[in-house]
């Protein structure tokens, strides 16, 4: 539990050391490529599965006998599995994403995790959000640092938009401008009531900061309002679940062309210690239906090629079920990437059910490889040790951009 500006600074040096982690290679920053680059009009939508999604019942090694042995009560029966090839199948609660899988714009990254896994919700999500090692404490979110490493754009409505509660998480950073929205209409209405006040000559720093933030709000609201007022209705039906509504707002922002490179959505309730057969499929269904509608909307508007959607979660769940038809906190898990530029299929490797550690899966792919992919391939930024921590990108995009 260590706050750390210090560790953060230390990191600059430490990141130059070889990190003894699979998929992580030695670093050296080239001064020239490290110069700031722009993010362009690409958008990243991060979807947090709050509570720790059970990876084994999401992407299922259904042909593996050990899977059923570990989970005599809660294993997903074969009849409820959609085969994805490679002896793996997807929980059919996610059938809404079948179209995406067939169109090969969905990719499952298998076995994401980190060494010395922490099983506390709070600590582990902090690790995922900051991109830290298990025993290292960083303050800023990895995307906050990504924003800081790239060129800013004064035309942006905000650097990041957080939809539907939750904190800024990975977007957190001293220099990131993040707006939290329940809904954009309410936001613009609230912002309209904020007066325009020019910075006076009063040099008081506290007041100056307040007025700056106030100006930011006005600016974001103005851009959002303008863009939305001219946005066409795409006629896509979104599911009426909480998550579905958030997806609808995300779609409306992106299709309206609100300039903002990062959007964070959250989907809660994955801490399934009990009654998993009932609860987990429902969570996956909401997730898949929301994302499928989002995908349709973005395809209809022609934005699908500039959007990347990625799920993340604090951890996967224990390989074996517990005594109350649920699963306890675990380690590695698969995560989903969607987007017009995604090369469908799998990346990473499925953890072996035969080599568990303390009844938990052993990760195969450092979670920062996902971050490196987003940083270097999606946003085409030079690798920055403060963002992707020296991890190697995965090959999941269709084309390497020019």
């Amino acid at each position: 539990m260590k706050f750390d500006r210090r560790a953060f600074l230390r990191l600059g040096g430490a990141a130059c050391l070889p990190l003894l982690v699979p998929g992580v290679r030695t670093w050296a920053i080239d001064e020239e490529t490290a110069a700031t680059a722009a993010l362009g009009d690409r958008v990243l939508i991060m979807v947090e599965l709050q509570g720790g999604n059970d990876g084994l019942n999401t992407v299922i090694p259904y042909r593996d006998e050990r899977y059923k042995k570990l989970r005599p009560k809660i294993a997903v029966p074969n009849s409820r599995v959609m085969d994805l090839g490679h002896h793996l199948g997807m929980n059919d609660a996610m059938a809404a994403l079948g179209e995406s899988w067939d169109a090969a714009d969905a990719c499952w990254i298998l076995g994401l995790g980190y060494p010395k896994p922490n099983r506390s919700h709070f600590r582990s999500i902090e690790i995922w959000e900051t991109g830290s090692d298990s025993d290292e404490n960083l303050t800023d979110g990895w995307l906050g640092r990504l924003i800081a490493s790239a060129e800013g754009d004064p035309k942006r409505a905000a650097d990041g938009i957080v939809l539907g509660g939750g904190d800024s998480g990975p977007l957190y950073g001293d220099s990131t401008r993040v707006i939290h929205l329940e809904n954009p209409i309410q936001f613009t209405r609230q912002a309209r009531a904020v007066p325009d006040i020019a910075h006076g000559e009063d040099a008081r720093k506290a007041l100056e900061h307040l007025l700056e933030v106030q100006t930011d709000i006005k600016r974001s609201a103005k851009v959002i309002e303008e863009k939305r007022s001219s946005a066409p209705d795409l006629g896509i039906q979104f599911p009426q679940s909480k998550f579905g509504k958030r997806c609808e707002i995300a779609a409306s922002l992106v299709t309206a062309g609100v300039p903002c490179p990062l959007i964070k959505l959250s989907h809660g309730g994955f801490d399934t210690h009990t009654d998993q057969q009932r609860r987990h499929p429902q969570l996956l269904r909401d997730l898949a239906e929301g994302l499928a509608a989002l995908r349709s909307a973005l395809i209809a508007s022609g934005d699908w090629g500039r959007v990347l959607i990625s799920t993340y979660s604090e951890f996967g769940r224990r390989a074996s079920e517990n005594g109350s038809q649920g699963t306890d906190h675990g380690t590695a898990a698969p995560h989903l990437l969607l987007g017009g530029q995604i090369k469908g299929g799998f990346a990473g490797a499925q953890p072996d059910l035969g080599t568990l550690q303390k009844n938990d899966l052993v990760f195969t792919t450092d979670y920062r490889q996902l971050y490196a992919t987003i940083e270097q391939q999606w946003f085409q930024l030079p690798a920055n040790p403060l963002v992707s921590r020296g991890a190697r990108p995965l090959s999941v995009l269709r084309e390497k951009a020019p």
């Binding site: 539990m1 260590k2 706050f3 210090r6 506390s120 709070f122 404490n137 905000a158 957080v162 401008r177 993040v178 707006i179 939290h180 936001f187 609230q190 912002a191 009531a193 904020v194 007066p195 006040i197 006076g200 009063d202 008081r204 720093k205 506290a206 007041l207 900061h209 307040l210 007025l211 933030v213 106030q214 930011d216 709000i217 974001s220 009990t274 005594g323 109350s324």
Partner: protein
């Protein structure tokens, strides 16, 4: 002597305005009404009862001051003159979250020293909010409740979560209704300095004990406080001393003791941490008492060297070694400066404070006195240089407008939404505060609170007040004697649980709003009338009361009190203290 009449003039004016207002109200004592009195419906009479003796005292003091000591060095005019409304607002805004106008007026006529001493007199070590019934459960009691079956474990988890919620509610209630807000301000300071997070500690009982420990020692001897912190069970859970053994010493507490709690970076080495960690080994939480105790065979009794002290050191010896470092008193002085004065301490002054602090036997009260009487505290530059924390904003607004009868749960929810979850600072360094309190979300949230929620609170307060008036008070005021509140003795309607339930955040129904809003508005209008003789002097005193300096936005000069008040509260300067 020629000064006396100038002191008297504002007071006489106040009296003249207040006398007619007073007539309609029964006399009541401040401490009693603190919880449920309606907006401005109280206070004039006790104001009067204070004002008169003060008039005498100030008259006498100023009469005896100057002529009797002709050879005394020329006293700074500022120091010897009354602090005025602005001074009172500055002092009370920084120390007790803000205050009603009548309280500011009382302080306004005093000199700095009188005002600060008067404020310090209010320090106490007790609370008025009845403790939750689970407060006295020991770890073994709790273990029993847990049970063995899956079902009982789930029920137990539910209770744990309920206790956690009630713990937050309990403190929020205390912050809002305490007669000694300065005490709670210090508890909040220590909670942010010697942090523990409920999400890790989990035990509401242990966190409550820690909170009470801050109250008991938070204005006393710092040495005692630091020793208590090292032996605090919640801390032992939070920073892992309870798991630290001779074979596997855990550095967590040792590191923070040196880095964040006692010395600050640069005043110790990594070896000091390793060695100190060895000293803090062998602690366990006693399941019967809930206290921390040391188990000899798990403790590393070998020789260690920490901060230049060598021997078979125990945890307590390490705490003493920390206290012996010159950096320690300076570290705490720095904390007081940044907490009460500005983000930029003057290093030379800190050194002086540290010396005085030690000379005064580490009395935190005297350190606070030094802080509040410093030139830097009163300097024009420091006025409005700090951003209000969510607690400052919400509790301060509630207390300033005397709507303490509003549900604490509502206030709690707002405070947490604005980024300050009580009992859960973001990490071991506490709330970073300052600029970090304000981002686009929290600023809109703050405006939302000031534009709407505060009116709902006023309505709920009104409802609660009227309900209290209709139900006769029980014979014994539980607030006066928390010991009485053993669970079995509590009448159900007075149990803290019931109270917390009543205080759950809720929406104000449209019907309630229609019915009670006019009453709230009436009181606002009365308040407006009492602010001065004419519209412009009223407007001025509204601003002096609530804003640290001139508003930067447009303040509404016409219309109802609600509009005028709204424009003052929504001015960006109201976010500053």
């Amino acid at each position: 002597m020629s000064r006396i009449p100038t002191i008297l003039i504002p007071m006489i004016r106040i009296l003249m305005i207040q006398i007619p207002v007073r007539a309609g109200f029964e006399s009541s004592q401040y401490f009693e009404v603190a919880r449920s009195a309606p907006l401005l419906a109280r206070g004039w009479s006790w104001l009067l009862s204070w004002l008169l003796p003060w008039l005498l005292i100030t008259t006498l003091v100023s009469a005896s001051d100057s002529p009797v000591m002709p050879d005394a060095p020329v006293v700074d005019k500022e120091i010897a003159s009354p602090i005025g409304i602005e001074g009172a607002r500055h002092l009370l805004g920084r120390t007790i979250f803000g205050a009603p106008l009548d309280q500011l007026q009382q302080y306004s006529s005093q000199t700095r020293e009188q005002a600060v001493d008067r404020l310090l007199e209010t320090l106490t070590t007790t609370t008025v909010t009845p403790l939750p019934p689970w407060a006295s459960l020991t770890p073994s009691n709790i273990q029993q409740q847990r049970g063995k079956t899956e079902q009982s474990r789930m029920a137990f988890q539910k209770s744990v979560r309920r206790w956690q919620g009630e713990l937050r509610g309990w403190w929020a209630r205390e912050l809002i209704s305490t007669p000694s807000p300065l005490t709670e301000r210090l508890v909040l300071l220590w909670h942010g300095h010697f942090t523990s997070e409920l999400t890790k500690v989990r035990s509401a009982q242990a966190m409550l004990k820690q909170n009470q420990m801050f109250r008991q020692f938070g204005s006393g001897d710092f040495r005692q406080l630091l020793h208590r912190v090292a032996l605090d069970p919640a801390m032992a859970i939070y920073l892992d001393t309870r798991r630290s053994t001779r074979d596997k010493p855990n550095e967590n507490f040792a590191r923070e003791l040196l880095e964040l709690f006692g010395l600050g970076e640069g005043n110790y080495s990594e070896t000091d941490i390793l060695e100190a960690a060895r000293a803090f080994t062998g602690y366990r939480i006693d399941q019967r008492s809930g206290a921390l105790r040391q188990i000899r065979r798990r403790h590393d009794a070998g020789e260690k060297t920490v901060l230049g002290v060598t021997g078979p050191l125990t945890g307590a010896d390490v705490v003493d070694a920390v206290l012996a470092q010159p950096a320690c008193a300076e570290w705490i002085s720095r904390r007081f400066w940044t907490e009460f004065i500005s983000p930029n301490p003057d290093e030379m002054v800190l050194k002086k404070w540290a010396e005085q602090f030690k000379k005064n036997d580490w009395s935190l009260r005297s350190l606070l006195r030094v802080t509040l009487l410093s030139e830097a505290f009163w300097a024009e530059d420091s006025r409005g240089s700090l951003i209000k924390s969510p607690v400052d904003l919400v509790v301060g607004t509630i207390r300033s407008f005397q709507i303490e009868g509003a549900p604490a749960g509502q206030a709690l929810r707002t405070i947490s939404r604005l980024g300050q979850q009580l009992f859960d600072p973001p990490n071991v360094a506490g709330w970073p505060g300052g600029h970090q309190w304000i981002d686009a979300t929290t600023l809109l949230g703050r405006r939302q609170f000031l534009a709407n929620e505060v009116h709902n609170l006023a309505v709920l307060n009104k409802m609660q007040h009227l309900a209290d008036r209709d139900t006769p008070a029980p014979d014994e005021d539980p607030a006066e004697n928390p010991e009485m509140m053993a669970p079995e003795m509590m009448a159900p309607e007075n149990s803290p649980e019931m109270r917390v339930q009543r205080e759950l955040p809720r929406r104000v129904k449209a019907r309630e709003r229609r019915r009670y809003m006019p009453l709230v508005m009436k009181e606002l209008e009365q308040m407006w009338q009492s602010l001065g003789d004419d519209s412009s002097s009223r407007s001025l005193s509204l601003q002096q009361w609530l804003l640290p300096f001139k508003p930067v936005g447009t303040v509404v000069e016409m219309g109802s009190m609600r509009n005028r008040l709204g424009s003052v509260l929504l001015d960006p300067t109201y976010q500053l203290k």
